[in-house]
């Protein structure tokens, strides 16, 4: 099923989605475009290359309340914060970011103990993927066999044409959503042709690339190499790479109390910070920034591959674009592997 709506009618489409479910979509802010929960349909923009932060916040917000507690004299009252029950839609997710959800599923829900926060939101969310129409020189999603108009993982896939947005149903979940949005028109045969052409041309938009063959093992082999000191020399340990990353999942659990009332929450953390591994005794196994950069690169390109069979990177290029000292993870991996 292919549907369409005029570019100028985006507002109507967004309003229709908001009537149905909680909507997360790209919003232009001072620093750039980011995913947000939408309160006003006119905030939404689909004119962006990619968002500054990844859409992981839809499933794994920067802070997530787990327990509310009240410290009373002699007793503590606690109340579990219930999981978000309401269904939601996330609109305008680029193909590489859609892929990141599947990678994170492996950690949070695949095997072992299931993370209820991630699972619950994943189950309740309909994803509207959004084809790229240009390539940024920092991107390298091609290395992971993702292309600019890759529909894999999306429930509905959106392509921006010259006059219309074209929307194709990919899954049953997507059909349920789109079937009941009546501001959409049926697409014409001409639209169908254009849409298929765009999907076909996806792989022709070439990103940078990298051969992943043997990388996990080679990174292990060169673990003790002085290369890491060289690579990490300019690093400021600001951690921005981990905060914008769609597959960085490390978190902290913190209690925040004010006048006896408090919340236990989980908060994004970063392996770039020195206190990430600091123990109460004062011992810290990763005091050097070279150790921490090595941890980040190896976690994504070696350890995750060993544990889950997939590289924990989608080549979205965010860390490279955001890094204040131009550390590029693709270059680091290439150089590290070559140094063996």
């Amino acid at each position: 099923m292919l549907k369409k709506i005029g570019l100028e009618k985006l507002n109507q489409f967004v309003s229709a989605l908001m009537e149905k479910e909680t909507l997360f979509a790209p919003v232009k802010g001072d620093a750039g475009v980011n995913f947000q929960e939408i309160k006003d349909a006119s905030d939404v923009t689909l004119d962006f290359y990619n968002t500054l932060q990844s859409p992981k916040c839809v499933f794994f917000p920067q802070t997530d309340d787990m327990v509310r507690y009240s410290l009373k004299k002699g007793t503590t009252e606690i109340e579990e914060v219930l999981l978000d029950p309401e269904p939601r839609i996330v609109l305008g997710v680029r193909p590489c970011d859609v892929k990141s959800f599947e990678i994170m599923d492996k950690l949070f829900t695949g095997g072992g103990i299931v993370d209820p926060y991630w699972e619950n939101r994943r189950k309740n969310t309909t994803i509207i993927g959004y084809a790229f129409d240009t390539v940024d020189p920092t991107d390298f999603y091609g290395a992971f066999d993702i292309h600019a108009a890759d529909t894999a993982g999306s429930d509905v896939f959106l392509v921006k044409g010259e006059k219309n947005f074209l929307l194709k149903v990919i899954t049953e979940k997507g059909e349920k959503l789109l079937g009941s949005v009546d501001v959409l028109e049926d697409a014409s045969a001409e639209d169908e042709e254009y849409f298929e052409e765009r999907l076909k041309k996806g792989p022709e938009l070439k990103t940078r690339t990298l051969s992943l063959k043997g990388v996990a093992g080679k990174l292990k082999d060169m673990f003790g190499s002085p290369y890491w000191e060289k690579a990490a020399a300019p690093c400021l340990n600001c951690g921005v790479c981990t905060f914008v990353c769609p597959t960085c999942h490390c978190f902290d659990i913190q209690d925040e109390t004010l006048f006896g009332e408090g919340t236990r929450k989980r908060i994004w953390d970063s392996c770039m910070f020195t206190d990430f591994t600091l123990e109460a005794s004062g011992h810290n196994p990763r005091t050097q920034k070279s150790q921490r950069l090595r941890q980040r690169v190896n976690h994504k390109f070696s350890y995750y591959v060993t544990n889950f069979g997939v590289t924990s990177c989608v080549g979205c290029g965010r860390c490279t674009r955001s890094c204040p000292v131009n550390i590029d993870i693709l270059t680091v991996v290439e150089e590290a592997v070559e140094s063996v």
């Binding site: 209820p116 673990f223 659990i253 005794s281």
Partner: protein, 279 residues
């Protein structure tokens, strides 16, 4: 949906100050709900997150044995925010526990073998769990000879003193308790743990040793066991690392691709050799 991040409510029913320096206490925790008690099935060597709302959580090895019914025990040194708050608690206080977490001492592998337990200082908690488990009437026949070498810097720093005395009286466990330096009242053994291990010289045939202690003790004790003929597959220890979630999600306690919270904390020396040489 089960939420693994929500602590189980427990009451502190007994607090024992273990050492003269007052910074190590054993906390006995009883479950508020009978159902939680039944679901909390653990094996010696596992740990749990002790949880105090307003302060946070701290991962601590379980010091009681599953053969002790109705409660669980943790021996905790006062070190950071959570453990300091724990030390300030009084009997009757309510707190939380998440667990049991991690793997355990390899009970199935240990069955039918002679067991040598070596502990140093405060790192004797999950070893105590293992000893109490093995010497329980239901389990004693499953294991061969049990030899325990336990040392501390001085007599006042030995933990579980009453139990040590009780074990000494039994004839089905060989106890070698030692201190680096005794005081005027000390009538027992003096000497470092590695030296005592050498004197005791347990046979390596069909035997496994479990070692926990400060790094310096472990460094000097291992060569003694290699000399006695113990292979790396038959020497076990337990690792510590900063943790938060305890279930392999939060990403901080890894050594290479292994997570101490879920793949450990127990590793054989052979397994440790395979780990990424991060530390």
């Amino acid at each position: 949906m089960h939420n693994p991040y929500i602590p189980i409510p427990v009451d502190v029913t007994k607090i024992v100050t273990e050492v003269d320096t007052n910074d190590i206490k054993t906390f006995r925790l009883s479950f508020v709900n009978k159902e939680d008690e039944e679901n909390f099935k653990y094996i010696p060597g596992q740990f749990a997150e002790l949880s105090i709302f307003g302060k946070g959580e701290s991962p601590i090895g379980i010091a009681s044995s599953p053969t002790q019914k109705g409660y669980i025990e943790f021996t905790v040194q006062k070190a950071g925010v959570v453990t300091s708050a724990l030390h300030d608690l009084e009997e009757g206080a309510r707190m939380g526990v998440r667990g049991p977490l991690g793997n355990s001492w390899p009970i199935d592998y240990l069955e039918g073998k002679n067991i040598v337990i070596v502990g140093g200082g405060f790192a004797f908690t999950t070893l105590r769990s293992m000893i109490n488990y093995m010497i329980h009437d239901d389990h004693r026949s499953r294991f061969g000879n049990i030899t325990v070498v336990y040392g501390a810097r001085e007599p006042g720093l030995l933990i579980y003193k009453d139990e040590l005395a009780a074990w000494e009286k039994r004839d089905d466990i060989d106890m070698y308790v030692t201190v680096d330096k005794g005081d005027e009242t000390w009538t027992g053994r003096e000497g470092f743990v590695p030296t005592v291990c050498k004197e005791v010289g347990p046979g390596s045939e069909n035997a496994v040793t479990i070692i926990c202690g400060p790094p310096i003790m472990i460094r000097f004790t291992l060569p003694v066991f290699f000399e006695l003929g113990f292979s790396k597959e038959n020497i076990y220890t337990s690792l510590e690392m900063r943790m938060k979630c305890g279930i392999g999600k939060c990403g901080r306690c890894n050594v290479g691709e292994k997570y101490v919270c879920k793949d450990g904390p127990v590793f054989s020396l052979a397994e440790l050799d395979q780990l990424t040489p991060e530390y």
